[in-house]
C-alpha cells in the first residue's frame, strides 16, 4: 500500500504541490490526471525519491520512505518509469531488461523473470541483442515495463506511457498492465494526460490542478459523471 500524506513540494519559490494526499491500495490502478504543469510528474518524482518534499511524507506498507535515496526506494520494489527517455539507448534490449533485477543477486530468478518478460512482449525477444535506440516508441514502452517486471517491482509509477504511442499499441500495453495487476498484485500509479484511456483501466482516479487535488474518487464515477468530466477533464 502506498500512502502519500500532505505532500508539499517547492522548487525555489515555485510551489509545485500543495498538501497532496492519496492512498493507493494494493493490486489496483490509480490514475493521476491533470493539465501540463499540474504537478503530476513532480508527485511521481517525489515518491521515487528524485525530489525532496518540503513537508509531508510518503509511506510504503507503513514504512516512511520520504527521505530515502532513489536507488534505495527502487530496491524496496518501487519502479518509476519516467516520461520520455527511460530507455538506456546505448545498451541492448537484453541489457536493459537485465538491469531491472541486477541488485537482487538472484541469477536463476533473474533468468526466469527475463523469460517471462520476453514471453509477454514478443517483439522484444526478436530484438534481444539490438541496441535499444533502434526500437520504436511502442517497443520502448514495452521494454521499460518489461524491465519493471524483471525487477519484480510491486509498485509501478508510470509517467505518461501513452506519449508518442499509436492507439493500438497503447491499448495492448494497458491491457497487459491490467493483467499484471490482477496476476501479480501489482500496484500502479498511472500519470496520464490522455484521461479517457487512463480512466478506462483505472480503479481510482485523482485530478491535480496547480499542485492541488481537486477531485478524487472512483475512476468509473469520474468517467460517468458528465459534470465532473467536463469541469476537470475537458471532455
Amino acid at each position: 500500500m502506498l500512502e502519500i500524506v500532505d505532500l508539499t513540494v517547492a522548487y525555489g519559490p515555485v510551489m509545485a504541490l500543495h498538501g497532496v494526499s492519496l492512498t493507493v491500495a494494493d493490486s489496483s490502478i490509480t490514475a493521476v490526471l491533470g493539465a501540463n504543469g499540474a504537478g503530476k510528474t513532480t508527485l511521481v518524482r517525489t515518491i521515487s525519491g528524485l525530489v525532496r518534499p518540503r513537508s509531508g511524507s510518503v509511506r510504503l506498507d507503513g514504512r516512511d520512505i520520504t527521505r530515502l535515496a532513489p536507488e534505495e526506494i527502487a530496491r524496496l520494489g518501487v519502479a518509476h518509469v519516467p516520461q520520455g527517455q527511460a530507455v538506456l539507448a546505448e545498451l541492448t534490449v537484453d541489457e536493459n531488461l537485465r538491469l531491472g533485477g541486477l541488485w537482487r543477486r538472484d541469477p536463476s530468478g533473474q533468468r526466469r523473470a527475463l523469460a517471462e518478460a520476453y514471453e509477454l512482449f514478443p517483439p522484444l525477444a526478436s530484438r534481444r541483442h539490438l541496441a535499444a535506440f533502434s526500437l520504436s516508441g511502442g517497443e520502448r514502452q514495452m521494454l521499460v515495463i518489461g524491465r519493471a517486471l524483471v525487477a519484480r517491482s510491486r509498485v509501478l509509477l508510470l509517467d505518461e506511457p501513452s506519449l508518442g504511442l499509436a492507439r493500438l499499441v497503447l491499448v495492448q500495453i494497458m491491457a497487459r498492465i491490467k493483467t499484471m495487476v490482477h496476476e501479480r498484485g501489482l500496484t500502479v500509479l498511472l500519470i496520464e494526460q490522455n484521461a479517457k484511456s487512463a480512466l478506462s483501466v483505472a480503479d481510482q482516479a485523482m485530478v491535480l490542478h496547480l499542485g492541488k487535488v481537486v477531485v478524487q474518487g472512483g475512476a468509473h464515477q469520474l468517467l460517468s459523471e458528465e459534470g465532473l468530466r467536463h469541469a476537470y477533464l475537458g471532455f
Binding site: Y11, G12, V14, A16, G37, T41, T42, R45, L50, V51
Partner: protein, 361 residues
Amino acid sequence: MVTANLRLGRLVRPTLNRHLLLALGAAVVLVAISAQIGAYDDYNLTAVAIFAVAAAGLTLLTGLNGQLSLGHGALMAVGAYTASLLLKDHQLPVIVVLLLAVLTTGIVGIVFGYAAARLRGPYLAGATLTLAVALPQLATRYKSIFGGDAGLSVPPSAPPAWLGADFPPERWLAWIALAAAVVTMVLLANLLHSSVGRSFIAVRDNEVAAALAGIDVARTQVLAFVISASCAGLAGALFGYWSGVTAPAGFGLGLSLQLVTAIVIGGLGSLAGAVWGSIVLVFVPTLTSGMASSLNVPSSVANNLPLAIYGAILVIAMLAAPHGIQGALTRLLALARTRWGHSSASGKKGVMDWDDPAPNP
C-alpha cells in the same frame, strides 16, 4: 549604425564619467601610497598591478563569456618576448613597447581565437592547456631568436629626467604598471556595461538564444578572447620589465593556473575581484617564505608552499565558496541589508548564480 552609436553614447557616457572619476581617485591614492613606501614594496605593488591586468582580462573571458583559458600564461609570454625582442637592440619609450606588445598578443589572440571559436568547455580548456605547454617550447627550439632556456634580458626603463635624478626606478615602474592597470580597468569596466559586454554574457548564458537574438556568436567569442589576450600581453610586457629577464621557465603551466587561481579567489567576472586575487597571488609567496625561514622549513617545502596553497584554495573555494571574495563580500552586504530590514529581496547576486537549482518539471 548611427542610431546604434547614439544609443551607445547615451548609455556609455554617464558610466564612462563615473569610471573615469573612480580611476582618477584611485590613481591619486596609488601615487600617494607609492611615494611613501620603499623600493621593495614598490616592487610588490608593481607585481600586483601586473597580475591585476592579466587577471582582469581573464576574468572577463571566463566569468563573462564563459570560456576557460588555461593558456594565458603563454599569452603573457608573447607580450614579454615581444618587449624583450624590441628592446634587444633599440631604446624605445615604454609606451611604444607596451602598445606593440598588446598588438602582437592581440594578433596571436585573433589567430587562436578563430581557431578555437567553435570549441566549448573541456575542448577549449584542453586546447589552451596545449598552448600553455607548447609555446614555451618554441622559445627553446628557436634558441637564436629567443635565447633558449636562459632567455632574453630586459633593460629597465629609466625614469624621465623631469622627475629628478634621484627618482627611484622601482617607483617609476610602479607608476607605469599602475597606470596600465587603471587604464585597463576603466576600459574593461566600460566594456562590461556596454552592449558588447552584454553580448558576452548573453552568449555565455545561452548560445542558441543569443544567436536567435542576432548576436554573432563566433565573433563574440573571438572578441572576448582577443581582449583578454591583449591584457595578458600588456601584463607580460610589464612582467618583462619587472623581472628583468624573459625565460620560458617563468611562463609555464603554473603561471596560467596561478591566473586562474586569482580570478577564482576574486570571483569570476568581477574586475574588483581580479585585484583581490592579484593581491593574494603576490603576498602569499612573501608570507610563506617568511614563515618558512622563521620555522626553518626545508627549501623543498618552502618553494612549493605557495603553489600548494593555491591548489588548496581552488579546491576549497569550489567546495565552499564558488563566488570568491567579491561574491562573499557582495553576499555579506546583501545579508546586512536584509538584516537591517531594507529589502526583502535576495540582494545583488554574484555574476554567476551557481546556487539556484534548475527546477525539474
